[in-house]
């Protein structure tokens, strides 16, 4: 217990405390639990939402999205949904102290996992990455200030050096743990016990993809195509295409003879939208993407590669095979497949999100239902790949972070 823990405080400051003090505080906050969706907690989060949404200075899209996601009406809907999912004659109660380990780079994800756990009534301790963006810091300060005003001492945003044993110490004090950051992080934490064999929720490495209906895309008007390109842009380019739900492959249901032209026009629109909205990729990354596209052509995997765009490089596959290429930063493989059912056959265990466009809801429901293998935890419309959902990666997080009390 040699290393110190940095505690982020309500006044925007930071304080260093030793391991013994930290443990005392964490122990104490286990007796500060409240019922799920307690009014004071809903109001506190809704107040944070208002502060974010009414800010006049420009805020990043993730901040806006988060502010919108936690607005009062949305929280009430979460509450209602949660209530409806309860088995009869049960009460939901918090699990206790929850330890959150967000990924270093997609730091915003912790906001959602913390909010859900907070609403569930838990005490929470979050290890923030050492470096967070200015907007992220601002949101953390809003949250800490709101907690300070409410004199809530059950929530902790902290940082400690990764080479210390504090991860082990806090785990031993925690009743549940939410581990983001991929397979390597899971490996590092899976042998570290929680209090009384508590529960861990793991978020491993994931791959995501997109399915488009070739016929529908070919029939789009220019305006509709622009709209679709804009939604694809959000899915692909936010977080450099490296979030676990960012798609890397476009599977097009149809055939290249009839639908390639429409897809190429769409890719052009996407490249243009990206060039319009985003900053160009670093030159070195543009070249790295070019190398991958050329290598794919040389290997006979692609019939056509498009690389004269600062943001987007794409390769049209020759075959119907699964593509595992995960280059990131604006790189798409396009694979033509004969049917939606064929896509189902290509899914793998580490797949997470399938974004879709151009199919009737029934068709998507059917293909999702037909897939009984492991893999894929989410089918959602193109444009919402990165929208966080309370059901994520196969977990109903509110359920995972509460316990049920049978009352008869």
């Amino acid at each position: 217990m040699s290393a110190l823990t940095t505690v982020f405080e309500a006044d925007g400051g930071e304080r260093q405390i030793d391991g013994v003090t930290l443990l005392e505080r964490l122990e104490a906050c286990r007796s500060l639990l409240v019922a799920p969706f307690a009014t004071e907690r809903i109001d506190l989060i809704a107040a944070v939402s208002e502060a974010i949404l009414k800010r006049k200075a420009p805020v990043s899209s993730f901040a806006k999205h988060f502010g919108f996601w936690i607005r009062h009406a949305a929280l009430l809907r979460l509450q209602q949904d949660f209530g409806r999912r309860h088995p009869a004659q049960t009460l939901a109660r918090p699990r206790g102290l929850v330890f959150h380990l967000p990924p270093k780079n997609v730091e915003t994800v912790f906001l959602y996992s913390w909010v859900l756990s907070f609403l569930a009534g838990n005490a929470n301790v979050v290890r923030l990455p050492r470096e967070i963006s200015a907007d992220m810091r601002w949101i953390c300060e809003l949250i800490l200030a709101a907690l300070g005003n409410a004199a809530d001492r059950s929530q902790w945003l902290i940082h400690y050096p990764s080479d210390s044993d504090l991860g082990r110490t806090i785990s031993a004090a925690a009743d549940a743990r939410v581990v983001w950051g991929g397979d390597a992080k899971i490996k590092a934490f899976e042998t570290i016990p929680l209090r009384n064999g508590g529960k861990s929720i793991w978020f491993g490495d994931r791959f995501s993809l997109c399915v488009l209906d070739g016929e529908t895309v070919a029939a789009l008007s220019e305006t509709e195509r622009g709209e679709l390109a804009h939604r694809l842009f959000n899915d692909i380019f936010i977080f450099d295409q490296m979030a676990c739900s960012s798609p890397h492959v476009l599977y097009v249901v149809g055939d290249a003879d009839r639908h390639l032209a429409g897809i190429k026009t769409l890719l052009q629109a996407l490249g243009a939208a990206a060039a319009d909205k985003g900053e160009a990729s670093a030159t070195g990354h543009q070249i790295a993407k070019m190398v991958q596209a050329f290598a794919s052509a040389a290997g006979g995997l692609s019939s056509e590669v498009t690389w004269r765009n600062a943001m987007l490089t794409s390769a049209i596959a020759l075959g119907e095979d699964r593509s595992e290429q995960r280059v990131g930063g604006g790189f798409l493989n396009v694979v033509f497949v004969p049917s939606l059912a064929a896509v189902s056959g290509l899914l793998r265990e580490h797949d997470q999100t399938v974004t879709h466009f151009g199919f009737p809801a029934d068709a998507i429901r059917d293909v999702a239902a037909s897939n009984t293998a492991l893999g894929v935890s989410r089918w959602t419309a193109v444009g919402s790949a990165l929208d966080f959902d309370a059901v994520w990666d196969g977990y109903d997080l509110l359920f995972e972070l509460t316990r049920l009390v049978r009352v008869t």
């Binding site: 590092a188 490296m242 052509a297 040389a298």
Partner: protein, 354 residues
């Protein structure tokens, strides 16, 4: 074509004379490689819309240099050696297929480029490197450079131990024996600075008869605030060494070297040329505009490396200025292209548990 370009003095051709000659050779090489290297032909089809006659040098398709790290591209059936670039430690090396024909072209090119500087007779040769660099199982860019320059040297003396420590005694002995007549010093820029310049005091060695040829880039020296001008002045002041030639080249196009000439600029020889491109659209940039360097060369026949997009930034600062009979383009190198660090859900640096 190649012979004609090779026989003329290295920078004798005006740009307008040079381009049509090079273009004929490049068109011929495009056909040659698409016929002999199926991987290359597939790239030309998928990324460049198929082979066609090219009317300007800037229309000739290029390969990004990193592709040679991904795959071995071969246009020869003859048994060949595989050159590997040293790169940075831990990086995947480039693998370049060189057969006897291409090796001969490379060495003829090397001679045509350096003969005007080094003269006809073989000079005593001091390599600022270890002899291990040329005996490694797979040749590195440094090793290839030393081996190439040995063609101009009589008997090589290696100035560094296997651990790259300066052998002061060997250097002194070499200078005592050879210092009164012209001799050649060759090494990587960073080694020449740290293992030769920094290891001796002012006036400790008389290198006034030396020709120093060095290459490898300025990145490490820039960190120590050593520019080309500082470098030149330091060697003059300390060793009275004034005949210094930096050159730019890379393992994917061995033999095509841009040697330092008038105004401190780097000049491609007749059989090589350079195009500066704008990232994104990858269109050719205007003279003077900084961009990414593409280098074309008539040397490579055993592998399709006759037109490559480098990962170096630079600009064309002169065309046909003619100072000291240096015609054609002249460039300056601005450094490497910026790399990207992508964000992502996976913590790349794992994840020490506790």
């Amino acid at each position: 074509m190649f012979d004609r370009l090779l026989d003329a003095a290295p920078y004798s051709l005006r740009q307008t004379e040079k381009e049509p000659l090079l273009l004929t050779g490049l068109n011929e090489l495009m056909r040659f490689h698409t016929e002999r290297c199926p991987d290359y032909a597939r790239i030309i089809n998928a990324a460049w819309g198929g082979l066609r006659p090219y009317r300007a040098i800037e229309d000739v398709p290029f390969l990004p240099v990193g592709l040679f790290k991904e795959m071995e591209l071969s246009s020869t059936a003859v048994s060949s050696i595989v050159l590997q670039s040293s790169g940075t430690t831990g990086q995947v090396p480039s693998r370049i297929i060189v057969d006897p024909e291409t090796a001969t072209r490379q060495s003829r090119a090397l001679i045509a480029t350096f003969r005007p500087i080094l003269g006809e007779s073989r000079l005593p040769f001091l390599a600022i490197d270890t002899k291990d660099v040329i005996s490694a199982a797979s040749l590195t860019a440094r090793g290839a450079g030393v081996l190439g320059m040995m063609k101009f040297g009589a008997k090589a003396t290696f100035a560094l131990s296997a651990a790259l420590e300066t052998d002061r005694q060997a250097i002194r002995k070499f200078v005592d024996a050879n210092g009164s007549k012209p001799f050649l010093i060759f090494g990587f820029t960073f080694l020449v600075w740290t293992k030769l310049y920094e290891q001796f005091g002012d006036g400790e060695l008389d290198l006034s008869n030396a020709v120093l040829i060095h290459s490898g880039g300025w990145k490490k020296l820039e960190a120590q605030k050593v520019s080309n001008a500082t470098f030149r002045e330091a060697f003059r002041a300390r060793f009275n060494l004034t005949r210094i030639y930096n050159f730019y080249g890379f393992v994917e196009q061995i033999g095509s070297m841009f040697v330092e000439g008038p105004e401190g600029l780097l000049y491609p020889p007749n059989f090589t040329d350079v195009i500066v491109r704008r990232p994104g659209s990858w269109e050719a940039a205007e003279p003077g505009e900084e961009g990414v360097l593409q280098v074309v060369s008539l040397l490579p026949r055993s592998y399709p490396g006759h037109s490559v997009l480098t990962e170096d930034r630079g600009a064309i600062l002169a065309i046909d200025k003619g100072i000291d009979n240096h015609f054609g383009k002249a460039i300056t190198i601005a450094g490497r292209v910026a790399k990207a660090e992508l964000r992502g859900c996976s913590d790349v640096i794992a994840a020490s548990a506790a």
